[in-house]
Symmetry: none
Subunit: 215 residues, 4 copies
DNA sequence: ACTTAAACGAGACGGTACGTCGAGTCTTACC
DNA sequence: GGTAAGACTCGACGTACCGTCTCGTTTAAGT
């Protein structure tokens, strides 16, 4: 995304880019999405609030969604760095704890996720990006690759460890397995199909680990 | 949804409504969403294609999303009626077959769902509605209540039957259980997190029934 | 004007016409022109205010200007009848007094005209009709024939009497002569070129009678 | 007129204004008024014909009448410059000739005016503006101040010269005197009360100079 | 008095234009 | 050459009325 190196104009010189403007644009975009919602957030509005010319936005990003995506990635990275042991490779990732009790570890992480999903500063932009991604495949794939997949990979890692510890069957595909508890939460949140809670995610983990058929 | 009896104008007289225009608007809206995509579908475009004045749309619906929602509901109902034993109450519902083999029944239905999700005539509008619903809570809830939940209820029914047959544990909540295989498919489709296939949904059913922990 | 007997529909049956509606339409049209001005007076507005269907207006008149013209003619006739000795032929005409003093008679009538031009109930509709007539030749000619010319004819009559009395030269064309004092007043009023007053019209009469060259 | 510095938007920067667009708008407005008439001339039509966005019109003018007024002023100035000895101050004014024969001078100028009033390129827009001015006092006053009064002033000047030469009585008010021949012509033209011709204006001058009473 | 057809009130309809907003492009002046 | 500012063309918005077209419902003439 971003970086429209398609045959536009001469192609901007990134070394002369104004860091100040970039930050102001990120801040304005995120603030507006929280305050007035994504559909009413406009490029003109972002430019005005950031004290920036419209052209400066069009020079570096290709669309409103693109601006917001980068702003949100930036926000996530900042949050990651702030909140502690950021990973070396710049990923926004914490590892999932491994106390030896898989169920407890998953429940803990999912409870934290539930809490995060309720924080307006995260909810508004991520909802907006998710919505845009549903209808705009390119953005959707970027969103997944840059934000979602790295997080899911943490579950894959934890599940692999569990397989080695014998807590998960060896023939199970971890990438699919994680969806048993992650996707239901995602759908309830995204589509308002039902409320989310700590109890709910606990239940999901239990069902996912042991199935719903009689043992 | 629709029918904004809030203090708009005097409130139109539904008995005088033109059935012809309504149908033409549904057809135009669905066709445009398929052809040019939801964001480029405009009220003016729908009106022009339907051979209808813009005011006729604004008189009966409050937004583009609202038009499309009703158009899609109508389409679903028609499809249900066409395809066979429609329910008495106008519900768009088929029951899930009960051959006695729960796994096989679920796999069959999910395979059919995968196929449907790939039909452009259904995919374009439902994707558009889902996206809009993510960012517009009111529409989202209506979408769920009118379209999604009735379909999910069929799974609830089948799972309850399975509980009585002893194929699902009695302490399992069917409304949550169904999410183990429905939500992962939904998320992959909606967010392009990974490809969908018959094999994939088969696997989901197996994991959901028996869990991922060693038996 | 009015009575569009052109090949429209079957042609309405005037004998069954609702007198009540006609009056209500006249009243509404005149009131709206006074209250909101001619451009903001709409057919829908007149119909609503008169408690009448739009079709009832379109059935009997061909345009907004046409409605107002008849309404104003009706108003003029009423005013004429009310104010005294209406002429036999239904004309809205009083004769100009003939006291033997031409200058005094003309000044008196023009002073009365100045007063009438300041009465909002007359000013608003007649201004509207005059304006429409400037740009719509057909209406303009009707306006002149039905309203203006009958009034000017009174001056012609008075001037002819004056010619017989030797107060006006025999070789003067009365139809042109009257314009020397009527048109300046009309232009000042219509076009706001300068204020109008009794003194002003008195002066006009003096100049017109004796010229501006040295005697 | 124009320049609505009232609390609209931030107020556009006139130095950045596109001269090309302005000219194109003037040309389109005048052409449309001539071709389809004032009522059927629309802002959208002007914009389309001028190859200009609607917003560019709304940015610089407040109404259709305002556009046309400026277009016509511009046309008049151009005509003045083209046709000869334009005044220094940008006034659209020629002096009225002074051959020593007042009657002949006035008749010559009025004959020229009659001819001009028949030129469609002038007639259509000036009729439209006059009509609008009748019903819209603000525009009417601007029309008079910017277009009409400067022309009438020429008559005032000529009449004053005539007073000094002893051809007009000293106690006559030239501003009123000029109306004796100008206003009748104006009214016949504006309101279609009677045809205009060179003979007619000659007669007006004779009547105005010497009056209609016996000498 | 009863019938019946036209006028009537109401208002939905296909349209056109309104005046506004924002998109994305282009130009100007500044640093 | 990047930038703030903002004018530009363009397209869609949602609204107001236009003039036409049904709908029942009066209502007045002719049986």
């Amino acid at each position: 995304m971003a970086r429209n190196q398609s045959a536009r104009h001469p192609a901007p010189d990134a070394t002369r880019r104004s860091e100040r403007s970039r930050r102001a644009i990120y801040d304005a975009a995120l603030a507006l999405v929280v305050e007035v919602g994504y559909p009413k957030t406009t490029i003109e509005g972002i430019a005005a609030r950031a004290g920036v010319g419209k052209q400066t936005i069009y020079r570096w990003w290709s669309s409103k969604a693109d601006v917001l995506l980068e702003a949100f990635l930036d926000l996530s990275e900042q949050a990651a760095e702030t909140a502690g042991e950021a990973q070396a490779d710049g990923g926004a990732a914490y590892a999932i704890p491994d106390t030896g009790d898989l169920a407890a570890d998953l429940k803990a992480v999912l409870r934290a996720t539930v809490d995060e999903l309720r924080d307006p500063a995260f909810e508004a932009p991520s909802r907006a990006l998710a919505a845009e991604g549903v209808v705009n495949e390119e953005l959707g794939r970027t969103f997944v690759a840059r934000l979602l997949e790295p997080q899911l990979q943490l579950y894959v890692d934890r599940l692999r460890a569990a397989q080695e510890a014998g807590d998960v069957r060896a023939d199970v595909d971890p990438r699919i397995a994680l969806e048993l508890f992650v996707s239901p939460l995602a759908q309830r949140w995204l589509q308002y199909t039902a409320p989310i809670s700590h109890d709910y995610t606990d239940t999901l983990v239990d069902y996912a680990l042991h199935g719903i058929a009689p043992r």
